[in-house]
């Protein structure tokens, strides 16, 4: 494993600081994951990935770069992986989910910026994340003001390409997004030196659709009254899926789904029957952000679904691969991606409908709507989310938090009280 140190050194990483990060990870992984009883055997794969999170996958990416392939770092589920894969590029997620990176971000950003943005900028500038060092180019998008401005700062340090996400969902906005995708394809061709052809794009669409289907199979298993997997484990699977090779990701998710379906047949549940089922909704939980799930699941409830970018917003809806021209395929991509009900859109009734639908599909007893501090978009939407749920008679708890540990006690009190309320 000493070879990783060499690799990190070659990546220009700050080894001393990185070591501090390596010291806290095992404690958190132990407390959050290893303390659970009866985890699915197939979680082995994700246990290995998280144990070697800055080792195995970065080494793979570097090997591919040696063969001339380019790595694209992305921050949002709106950036179409299909286009990058069609040009033989590689996609890696880059969102920062650790408090460790926040001070580095605060050095250059206002403190009242969301922790995800602060951590992402801190991870780059602090040189403590190999993925941020490896990516040849970053692809940003205009889903919030904080990101838009943070990308300008990141752009001074690394090549940056921005996609302009529409803020409304009129037919002309979908056409506009298609044009953004077409422009992006030209950029990707320029960076990779490879053409995006109809055949290659169709193949890429199929690869990503298979990944989406596999993730959905795991989520579908969570709908069962007999809950075969904890929310923490499912969240880890989703978080890692942003970093992994999509075909391996699909294979591993399908392997996990096989086991979960078998557990359901055999009546194997990870919680006692009657445990309250929670749908969480809101802003993404980037790896290694496990605080919310861990507190919920150590307060006598279980998380059964995430209506989040690290959740259903990532894999729901497939892309139609029947088009015969690039233009048709770009339009199919645009239509699929514009079905995502991110709070950046106005108006955004689709998100409320999604939450109500998911609460039913996953048999949720209650909803926890949690946003990252200083995310105005999701924070403002809490009111309409709560009203809609209340009208349906579904209890909801609205929360706001960041990456710090210091509010864990207060979160516990609120969440335990919510669970006590659900238990009657």
């Amino acid at each position: 494993m000493a070879d990783y140190v060499k690799m990190w050194e070659n990546l220009g990483m700050d080894l001393e600081s990185h070591d501090t990060l390596c010291q806290v990870l095992p404690v958190a992984v132990g407390d959050v994951f290893m303390s659970q009883e009866n985890r699915p055997k197939a979680m082995d794969f994700w246990d290995l990935v998280i144990s070697e999170v800055h080792g195995i996958r970065p080494a793979e990416l570097i090997e591919e770069q040696k063969k001339g392939r380019k790595v694209f770092g992305t921050f949002c589920v709106f950036v179409p992986d299909e286009v990058i894969i069609a040009a033989d590029g590689i996609v890696t997620g880059l969102c920062g989910g650790s408090q460790f990176w926040v001070p580095g971000g605060e050095a250059v950003l206002p403190k009242n910026t969301c922790p995800l943005i602060k951590a992402s900028v801190g991870a780059r500038l602090g040189r403590t994340c190999p993925f941020f060092r490896i990516a040849d180019v970053y692809v940003g998008e205009t889903t919030c003001d904080g990101k838009k401005k943070a990308y300008e700062i990141l752009g001074q340090d690394v090549p940056m390409y921005i996609m302009d996400v529409p803020q409304m969902k009129r037919p002309k906005d979908i056409v506009k997004w298609k044009e953004e995708i077409a422009d992006f394809a030209l950029k990707v061709e320029e960076i990779t030196g490879n053409k995006v052809t109809v055949e290659k794009l169709k193949d890429a669409i199929r690869i990503i659709n298979e990944k989406r289907k596999a993730m959905k199979r795991v989520y579908d298993a969570r709908r069962s009254e007999c809950l075969p997997i904890s929310g923490r484990d499912a969240l880890l699977m989703t978080q890692i899926s942003f970093f992994d090779d999509p075909e391996r990701c699909a294979k591993m998710c399908n392997r996990l789904a096989d086991e979960l379906e078998e557990r359901i047949r055999d009546g194997v549940s990870v919680v006692p029957s009657g445990t309250k089922r929670i749908l969480v909704t809101g802003t993404p939980l980037a790896v290694p952000n496990w605080k919310l799930h861990n507190i919920i699941e150590t307060s006598g409830a279980a998380v059964v679904c995430e209506e989040m970018c690290t959740g259903t917003r990532y894999f729901e809806n497939l892309v139609d691969d029947s088009g015969e021209t690039l233009d048709e395929l770009f339009m199919a991509l645009a239509e699929r991606y514009m079905k995502n009900n991110c709070a950046c859109f106005t108006p955004n009734p689709g998100r409320i409908q999604d939450i109500l639908r998911l609460a039913k599909e996953y048999k949720a007893d209650g909803v926890i709507d949690c946003s990252l501090k200083f995310c105005g978009l999701y924070d403002i939407e809490k009111k309409s989310v709560a009203e809609a749920l209340k009208a349906e008679g579904i209890p909801v708890l609205s929360l706001e938090t960041d990456y710090e540990d210091s509010d864990a006690g207060q979160l516990r009190t609120r969440i335990e009280a919510f669970v006590e309320m659900l238990n009657g």
């Binding site: 494993m1 990870l25 095992p26 082995d44 080792g55 990456y403 540990d405 864990a408």
Partner: protein, 87 residues
Amino acid sequence: MSERYYILFENYEQGLALHDLLDEAGVMNRIAPAPSAARGTLCCGMSLLVGPDMIDRAKEVISRENAVYHSIVSMENPLQPMRDRYC
């Protein structure tokens, strides 16, 4: 009472090999990041986590199969789900 054993390795290939052997022998074990206190000069990486009820059987498998590993470290109370120390 809540003692846990971590089997450490030079690299993850060794770890996965023993993981498969233990699984075959029905010895409960999980892949886990090696605790930094136990890791010493070894770098960030995987270990196998084994409970006190399984450690003797794990050692039997290791010696029977001549499995390669770095060391075995025992720790008191390493897993505290309510500790609320995240990263």
